[in-house]
Subunit: 350 residues, 2 copies
């Protein structure tokens, strides 16, 4: 095993003292990077995801070009519905679509949960290759979608503002919803463990649509499955949970077996620390739209963010994925601002 | 002046004791009602909005057919950009678009703020006609978009998931953003006062995209203008502020001169009461997607909601507009459940 030259991320997740917070950006691999856009012109989405050499090259780009403290494997959360037997289409600029959605218990029972190791071999190959290429430079992050978010796509068949159909399904057929959520959880646990075996140092679980649920419904349909995943991975690798929008669950999530919680920008760092009682490492929460502000404003806002979170038990990141319209220089400014961080005389007590 | 036969809404806004909470639904006029859909086939959107007889008929439909305790005038928040001189198009099923967006100080300075009385006469006529037709049956609600939300449309020119461009404008040109927000505020205050003069008993300010802002940015770009509006209307009529998603601002908003705050379903009633210290009437917060659940589930959830908010200083409503796919019987069940409400033995102390 190669020793990590930069293990800031892992130390922050273990709540060990760091000289400065680690920094990476959700969706850092792809989208806004010119070298990615060149590959995008040549290869379609699933070719990029399913060819380990391409996925590896895309994963390394932001490490080399933007200077982040971690690599996150280039992949997609919808590889899980694929591995379970559903067709997933990705039309450029249009988002994903699943032509045959889940409607009945028969549909749910037909989903495979044993297919991950074999059908997602390309993800593990990409991780192993990337781990080798990184040669200990920074840690490698694996990831999966959270069960609630995957259910959303399986029921709706495409993106939605309100996730009405998914919620109607959950509210009308709760027994079936739990049956489906459990199946997704089972395969996701296998998948994440296999990612760690293949080279991931830590894994993040993206619950991108958790925030569409009320606190009570989150507790019913999202939280138990996030907890199951954190429990199952406990002895394997640190887990970061990112239930976007679910600020109301922070107190509960701080009691989970996860090592970190991602938060978006609709909660102040101070409140997030209060809700979690500083029991768990927090990750976030820069408004991605603020990367469109002038560089001087970005740097000021990053400094303020770290002052407010405090330097320890903290991972600097965005509150959601970087958008394609962000200039590379602005992404670099974000990362540099974290690296240049000097605590203010009066900074957070955390 | 006709005496109101049902003044539950106004009493709840004045924090007076009520026998049961008043109930209405955001977007109750239109969309899911078959009689509305018939008018929609015959007349385009702005004809429906700009013809007082049509707007009045549409406004009355849910009062007569669903039994809500208030009428809200059928109109649109984008009549303000129109009155300020911008073109607004409404393509059925596609949402609004503004072909010429605001980009420069010159664009902002060219916007009119004195045009409301004249160019929005059709709104006042619709309110007066509806007030007469209601004949004191229930109160009539007027409304406007909040300055931040109107700015979003003026800058982006159409709906957006992330409001990147509006936020980029605010973060990059804060001086211009405030200049624009102040102009929108000025005309909105005139507009709301004129709505009250024409017959509105109370007004609601919809800040539909407030939740896209961080707590600090909300305080900079949204809150001051909401406060200005509440201050200006203080002696005129009770104001309900509805900054969707901005749970973090509840404490501050409870100190405003508004009479009510609308909240969405991503906060529990208990937390909303805590944040506002029960200083202000709360309105909400049923997940509109839950209207797609079976009627028995809707009734159970409504009872739980009222138990949690408490019967006083409370207006039963959805947490966002009703969606077109809701069966009329389910909307009726929501309203009936509020009317049938009997407190549980152990209910909220508020």
């Amino acid at each position: 095993m190669t020793t990590l030259k930069n293990d800031l991320l892992l130390r922050a997740l273990r709540r060990e003292k760091v000289e400065r917070p680690p920094v990476w950006m959700m969706r850092q691999a792809g989208r806004y990077l010119p070298d990615y856009l060149k590959l995008k012109e040549k290869y379609d989405f699933f070719t990029r995801v399913q060819t380990p050499e391409l996925a590896c090259a895309i994963t390394l780009q932001p490490v080399d070009q933007v200077g982040v403290d971690a690599a996150i494997i280039f992949s997609d959360i919808l590889v899980i519905p694929q591995a379970m037997g559903m067709e997933v289409l990705m039309e450029e600029g249009k988002g994903p679509s699943l032509p045959e959605v889940i409607q009945t218990q028969k549909d749910i029972d037909a989903l495979r949960t044993d297919g991950a190791e074999e059908s997602l071999k390309y993800v593990f190959d990409a991780l192993s290759l990337t781990k080798r290429e990184l040669n200990g430079k920074v840690p490698l992050i694996g990831f999966a979608g959270a069960p609630w978010t995957i259910l959303c796509y399986m029921i709706e068949g495409k993106g939605s503002k309100t996730w009405d159909k998914a919620k109607q399904f959950a509210y009308t057929e709760p027994r079936l919803a739990h049956r489906l959520l459990q199946k997704i959880t089972d395969i996701t646990v296998h998948y994440l463990k296999a990612q760690v075996k293949a080279g991931a140092d830590t894994v993040q679980v993206f619950d991108s649509w958790a925030g569409s649920l009320s606190p009570a419904d989150f507790k019913t349909f999202a939280q138990p499955y996030l907890f199951q995943i954190a429990d199952a991975l406990k002895e394997t690798a640190p887990v970061i949970l990112f239930p976007k929008g679910s600020w109301y669950a922070l107190k509960d999530l701080a009691e989970s077996n996860a090592s970190g919680i991602g938060i978006d920008w609709t909660i102040s760092p101070k409140m997030a620390r209060e809700f979690t009682g500083n029991k768990i490492t927090l990750q976030g929460n820069f408004d991605p739209a603020k990367l469109l502000a002038p560089v001087s404003e970005i740097k000021k806002a990053v400094k303020k963010m770290i002052d407010d979170f405090g330097m320890q038990n903290y991972i600097a990141n965005l509150g959601h994925g970087i958008t394609p319209n962000v200039p590379v220089d602005h992404a670099k400014a974000f990362v540099e601002a974290v690296k240049e961080y000097e605590p203010s005389v009066v900074s957070s007590q955390w």
